[in-house]
């Protein structure tokens, strides 16, 4: 007993003797605090969540990219040049010569073929972005061919708009992997999937040095990158779930960039002279989905009334300021064909009139499935009180994210409040989900957001499907603009906000810019002085 007591006393004493440890982050290393527990895979053919895609964007190169400074215009990356056949079916890419993978292997057209083949064959979540052009695991080697080391010929199934196909090549799933290295790590014909979940085989700005799920990933600069060596030697991203902890780490200088500060913390660090705020428009749309299986919500007047019943301005000002901004159409700003029209303002009188027309002068009762997370809960509560002003009694059903989503996907909700993020940088991604519903039956093959809300729209489906074959970029743009204006009037979607991603960094950190998608959050230009 006496020895135990001594030991306890010694440990208590040691606790009091803790020396202050205040290491600033190393000069050539960028340290980020971020919520990264959404990563399920680092394999570019599989990663489809924000953080996983962001890693891929910094580790792999693609044939095509977008110029963030020039309104996301298409630019060639690994593709030095390309031509499209007159019938819009065949694309010929000339690859940049002399590019090498991290392993030292040269990057050739054969690697591109292998990368596309594995993405289509594995057919993981983002696989459809390539597969929608008619590639299947059986025909992909005929449709995607290397004619020599630097020439690639791709044949698509329909005369799609070239902008559509090329935009899809900027997405993470079209990343080029090191075929020799991946083949060496294949197991049971898995195309190296198990290995690539945790490792990297790219040619990009960084290679993955260490990844520990839910804890951190460390990237090491590729000095031989074809665009020039990154401005830093290493990037370490640590999982810090709690935004308040992220703020403390940033203020103390233990991290250089904090990625998930909430509205209150942003307001607090704004006054700190050592901290700067960096913003970027993100493609995420915050909306309400009104299930058309509910007889009240199926009435056109009710749908319109509810759009007049959201106090957009007050919610933006009081709840989401600096993190969301008002946006009422399905294409986010920055996309081809995006419009800025905001036809709806908070107008309870007008809403009451419309409800009376629908035969519901005293309103009705309806439920909304609400994720128990901010700002969703706060917004839902604000809407609840807005709607009460016209007699619509809204009951909120709280739940965890996956729980509300499971219900939404089964179409058993009344109203769902949620976010939608575009899958790739082309207007078709959102147009497809918000304005196509090929089959409104329970066993439908394609279950878009329109389907989830049981919105049966054969005519609009045809118009949306035609827009993807429009080869003239100007005409295509006009088609999407018209489609959205019609959609705003009739759809069962109350589109409210577009997300602004905000991060805060230490003074002295330069070059950090937030792109329109996770595919475009690049670490290479970040420097510290």
């Amino acid at each position: 007993m006496r020895h135990v007591a001594k030991l306890l006393a010694a440990s208590a004493f040691a606790a009091l003797m803790t020396t202050p440890v205040l290491a600033q982050t190393p000069k050539d290393t960028i340290v980020m605090a971020k919520q990264i527990d959404d990563i399920i895979s680092l394999d570019p053919a599989e990663a489809f969540e924000f953080s996983g895609v962001e890693v891929g964007a910094n580790v792999y190169d693609k044939l095509m990219g977008v110029d963030l400074k020039n309104n996301n215009a298409l630019v060639g990356e690994l593709a030095q040049s390309w031509t499209v056949s007159p019938d819009n079916l065949t694309y010929t890419f000339k690859l940049r010569p002399g590019v090498k993978f991290h392993s030292g292997n040269p990057l050739t057209a054969a690697d591109v073929v292998y990368s596309f083949q594995r993405a289509v064959t594995l057919n993981k979540s983002p696989g459809f972005i390539l597969a929608q052009f008619g590639f299947t695991k059986d025909n992909v080697l005929e449709k995607v061919k290397a004619t020599d080391d630097t020439t690639l010929v791709v044949t698509v199934s329909k005369p799609y708009a070239p902008t559509f196909f090329l935009n899809c090549l900027t997405s993470g799933v079209a990343s080029i992997v090191d075929s020799k290295l991946v083949k060496a790590n294949e197991k049971d014909g898995d195309f190296g999937n198990a290995w690539l979940k945790l490792n990297s085989a790219g040619s990009g700005a960084y290679k993955v040095r260490a990844y520990r799920p839910n804890e951190q990933y460390a990237l090491e600069a590729n000095e031989a990158w074809y665009k020039g060596a990154p401005k830093n030697k290493r990037v370490i991203v640590r999982h810090v779930a709690e935004p308040a902890s992220q703020r403390l780490l940033l203020e103390k200088g233990d991290v250089d960039i904090a990625r998930n500060l909430s509205k209150d913390q942003l307001a607090a660090v704004k006054t700190n002279a050592n901290i700067e705020i960096v913003q970027g428009d993100k493609g995420y749309i915050l909306y309400l989905g009104l299930n058309q299986k509910n007889p009240n919500l199926a009435k056109p007047e009710v749908r319109e009334a509810l759009k007049y019943l959201v106090d957009y301005d007050s919610i933006e000002r009081n709840i989401v300021e600096g993190t969301y901004k008002g946006h009422e159409s399905f294409l986010p700003k920055g996309f081809l064909g995006a419009i800025d029209d905001k036809p709806y303002k908070f107008d309870p009188a007008k809403a009451k009139e419309l409800l009376a027309k629908a035969g519901l002068p005293n309103g009705f009762t309806v439920t909304m499935d609400t994720r128990s997370v901010n700002p969703i809960t706060d917004i839902a509560q604000a809407i609840q009180s807005n709607w009460a002003q016209a007699g619509v009694k809204l009951e909120l059903i709280p739940g965890d994210g996956k729980q509300t989503l499971t219900k939404y996907r089964a179409r058993t909700h009344d109203i769902y409040i949620g976010q939608w993020g575009p899958d790739y940088l082309d207007p078709h991604t959102n147009a497809e989900t918000f304005a196509i519903n090929e089959d409104n039956g329970e066993e439908a093959k394609s279950k878009t957001l329109a389907w989830r809300n049981a919105w049966d729209i054969p005519a609009m489906t045809k118009i949306t499907q035609a827009a993807v074959l429009e080869t003239s970029a100007d005409k295509r743009k006009a088609e999407y603009e018209g489609l959205q204006r019609e959609h705003q009037k009739v759809s069962p979607f109350v589109i409210m906000f577009q997300q602004i991603e905000v991060s805060a960094d230490r003074k002295g950190v330069s070059g950090w810019a937030i792109g329109p998608s996770s595919d475009t959050n690049f670490y290479a230009p970040i420097a510290k002085n």
Binding site: P20, A23, F48, P213, A241, Q403, G421
Partner: protein, 348 residues
């Protein structure tokens, strides 16, 4: 000689029987634990496929993932398959981390172990003296103060205390390290062997990394320690009050022993036996991992791992984590039983 051998043989048979009985109790407990966890995790209305493929996946991708997870089979078959694998030592792969559950646990459990152990040490080393002090001064001001501390430790929300602690000791005073297990500058200096950072650092002679790790560890353990302290001090107080009313205490005093000897040597020694059970349970409770503490302090421990798995219906991870917690509870209970037998002559 022969009789002696027979005697030995008899004894080992008896021990074998006891061990066998204990083992089957453990096996049945574990089986029940798994069954209940499995059923609970399967009835919660969360689609496990979403964790694998995300919300935007196409129907064919979704269907393939569902089949890969074996979710098309009836519940009892899914459970039978799982149990069969557990017996061959395979806890499966977590869909969230894409790693073997055993690998995941090897990574997260030592982090929790470190936190819980230091927390319990703090709780015990301060809680027992505080409890004794309160018992001896029953009803007077030291007792009142101890009561307030106990109440404080028990009722202050951990997330508030953790954040305030960080604000004061990390942000303002700079005495301790911030959220995370070790500073970025030191993270590659220690190769994980046991996974317990302080032990690994000490073994490898990386003393600066050791102190950096310690400076990150002390605040979250103090937060957990306060909780443990509150519990231990209240229990110590009540055990001590019972002991101090016993006749042997009066006898010792009558014999003219010093008050200090009566309290610390005689009474406390008798209170230790039930106290160990209390401490063991509170230690086991901390070993489950504390979700809130781990979240605030960015601590990659077991609590957050299991919670995250549960929220995503990541079955293998949930069941694997539950097994570990079950084993910890049974193990800690067993140890405290053994200790009680050794400490109490009547139980020998």
């Amino acid at each position: 000689m022969a009789s002696l051998r027979e005697k030995w043989a008899g004894r080992s048979v008896r021990w074998g029987r006891i061990a066998g009985r204990e083992l089957s109790t453990v096996a049945i407990t574990m089986f029940g634990l798994l069954l209940v966890t499995f059923l609970i995790a399967r009835v919660i209305p969360i689609d496990p496929v979403l964790a694998v493929v995300g919300d935007n996946a196409r129907p064919d991708v979704y269907e393939k993932a569902r089949l890969d997870l074996g979710l098309d089979k009836p519940l009892w078959q899914q459970f039978a398959i799982y149990i069969g694998k557990v017996f061959s030592g395979d806890l499966g792969t977590s869909v969230l981390t894409a790693q073997l559950v055993t690998e995941d646990i090897k990574r997260v459990f030592p982090a929790t172990l470190e936190l819980a152990t230091l927390g319990t040490l703090i709780g015990v080393s301060l809680g027992i003296p505080l409890g004794v002090l309160a018992a001896v001064n029953q009803g007077r001001w030291p007792d009142q103060i101890a009561r307030v501390i106990g109440l404080f430790g028990y009722s202050i929300p951990v997330f508030w205390l953790g954040l305030m602690g960080l604000l004061l000791f990390y942000a303002k005073l700079g005495w301790v390290g911030g959220p995370g297990r070790i500073g970025v500058a030191w993270q590659d200096f220690v190769t994980p062997v046991t996974g317990v950072l302080l032990i690994d650092a000490a073994m490898q002679g990386e003393w600066e990394a050791f102190w950096d790790g310690f400076s990150h560890l002390i605040l979250p353990s103090a937060v957990l320690g306060l909780f443990s302290l509150a519990y231990v001090s209240r229990m110590t107080r009540s055990f001590m009050i019972t002991e101090l009313q016993q006749q042997y205490v009066i006898a010792a005093r009558v014999k003219g022993m010093s008050e200090a000897r009566v309290i610390w040597h005689h009474a406390l020694r008798n209170a230790v036996v039930p106290l160990v059970t209390v401490i063991a349970l509170s230690y086991a409770h901390l070993l489950e991992g504390s979700v809130l503490t781990e979240t605030i302090f960015a601590w990659p421990g077991l609590g957050r791992y299991i919670t995250n798995a549960l929220l995503n219906a990541d079955m293998n991870a949930v069941l694997g984590g539950t097994l570990v917690i079950g084993a910890v509870f049974i193990g800690v209970n067993l140890l405290s039983d053994i200790f009680a037998r050794l400490a109490d002559p009547r139980a020998r």
